[in-house]
């Protein structure tokens, strides 16, 4: 492994905390791979070795897991992972168009990263936000009800170094690495930053309130 001593020490410390959450050490592997991405920006071969060591597996077993899941990247990821949902419903509602325009704008295709390392574009699958279609995710934060213009603005902001704010999520999208640290199970204090719940989430409740409907009794 080529991690410097400090990085390695921090990794080990974090890994211990992760291992502590589970009764069986192998369960820590998914969060550990997220952790590796929070340091390297992808699952590096070093990271594979680190995980193999941490949970006592062969590298083949670790890569077997790492290559099964789409969130684990094999090449250094951009600072921002921009995913456009192009599964059936979002695609129909305009996701395809958004994708095409973003791809043109960034000059990269699926799972590719802009030359400046800012953005990795990805066609993503349904992200459980169909009522907000078309949906885009930036570092796995929701950008709901996208239009090509709005999507392009987000990308412009990223490319020009401005913060971007999701529709449901914190005030500002964290970097890919920061996000991966959250996904490894380390809280980042941004949990309360947004102040409400999205419109479609509340639409039924609103109708019920208007109609004075309550669940029985």
């Amino acid at each position: 492994m080529t991690y410097d001593a400090d990085t390695l020490a921090q990794l080990r410390k974090d890994a211990d905390e992760i291992l502590g959450r589970y009764p069986v050490q192998r369960s820590a592997l998914l969060p550990l791979l997220h952790l590796v991405q929070s340091v390297d920006g992808y699952v590096s071969p070093d990271g594979i070795a680190f995980c193999a060591d941490a949970v006592d597996l062969t590298s083949a077993e670790v890569s077997a897991v790492a290559t099964f899941y789409t969130q684990y990247k094999r090449r250094p990821n951009g600072e921002y992972q921009v995913g456009v949902c192009t599964t059936a419903l979002c695609a129909t509602m305009g996701g395809d168009e958004i994708w095409r325009q973003l791809s043109d704008k960034c000059g990269v295709g699926h799972d590719e990263t802009t030359a400046d390392g800012k953005i990795s574009l990805e066609r993503i699958e349904c992200n459980a936000a169909c009522d907000y279609a078309p949906v885009m995710m930036v570092n796995w934060e929701f950008f709901d009800n996208m239009t090509p213009d709005r999507a392009l603005r987000v990308v412009d902001d990223i490319l020009e170094g401005r913060d971007v704010k999701p529709t449901r999520g914190p005030n500002k999208v964290s970097t890919f690495k920061e996000t991966e640290r959250v996904l490894a199970g380390f809280e980042d204090g941004k949990v309360d930053e947004d102040q409400g719940v999205g419109e479609p989430t509340l639409v039924g409740l609103k109708v019920a309130r208007e109609q004075g409907w309550k669940e029985s009794k």
Binding site: P31, T87, R100, R123, C126, D131, E141, D188, T201
Partner: protein, 442 residues
Amino acid sequence: MTDLTPVLSATWDAEQSWKLSTYEEHGGYRALKKALGMDKADIIQAVKDSGLRGRGGAGFPTGMKWGFLPPDDGGPRYLVVNADESEPGTCKDIPTMLSAPQVLVEGVAITSYAIGCNHAFIYVRGEVTHVYRRLMQAVREAYDAGHLGKNIHGSGFDLDVTVHAGAGAYICGEETALLDSLEGRRGQPRLKPPFPAVAGLYARPTVVNNVESISSVPAIIDRGVEWFTSMGTERSKGMGLFSLSGHVERPGQYEAPLGITLRELLEMAGGMRGGKKLKFWTPGGSSTPIFTDEHLDTPLDYESVGAAGSMLGTRALQIFDETTCVVRVVTRWTEFYKHESCGKCTPCREGTFWLTQILKRVEGGQGVDADIQQLLDTCESILGRAFCALGDGATSCISSSIQYFREEFEQHITDGACPFDHSASALFEVTESTKATEEAHA
């Protein structure tokens, strides 16, 4: 007209609805305290009597599932909450956890107590950072308030809860694949038997339940079986979240008793977008055979939807109007299944690979006459022969769409092109290039 019945969603419009304090102001954790004073068997019986059926898609009676656990042998047993929500169209658990995660945590505590579990897991899909934040906070707040941890409210009951993020794999919603994934493996489904109730997580007795199922438990305990059974139909009890998406005026979450119809829901949602005509819809996500306007009045309960040839699934109502090309939508869904097939079994791995290629050709105007039959034959080679239900699900949209819209498939083949203008189904203007080609999905 059926009324909506907000129970799980009742607090979602409150200020900081996700905080423990908000939840407690609205009666949160009353049920846990009540449950801790109850006999475990009585809790299980109450859930059995409520008729609550799993909200994760298959609709298996929840209380009965708990009852399958073997008698306590002194070793650990686990509760695993399935929060992987990845089925196309399904978008109910994510808003639940984002808006009111405490109801799930309380449900976890009650369920764990009832089944004798001291370590529960919430497996949430990895692609929803903010949801994961909310869950981590919810668990932390619950620990701090003594709703979790050691000797909960002096009952002698200990419970740890670990929130675990997945990493992008639809198959991990399948309960045994989820368990493998939670054990740090590739998320591939396991052989059954043994069922999770007997040998699940770490080969110990395990209950796997959907977020909404577990979230429904506190209300059942708090307000009683009768209250719950007063909602719904004869065999499909209680309320559930109906998620409307697509070409409707006001897509979103509508919590209603089971048995409500799409016609009723559409009315509440302001009707079809721009007054267009409904063409087809899924009653329960992309894995359930599609419906058409024939089915507007089919009661959305397990039995009626089943009788009409589909499945209630997750009540993920994806609605497409007359501007939509069904071949295009089905092609995309099929690409999804190909992308998400775990690869373990031949029918699903190879079958989705083949189906995708045929569909893409047909959609792109390169179809041949034999293709429609080949699609049906290949679906037949998958349906009921794959290792798990993912393979079955992949065939639903194809067989059902050919059943209802065969001419549209034929037209693509005879015209050598897609007859639809994709702009019309999008929410905004679509350029020529997007209309003309369908880019491959990796």
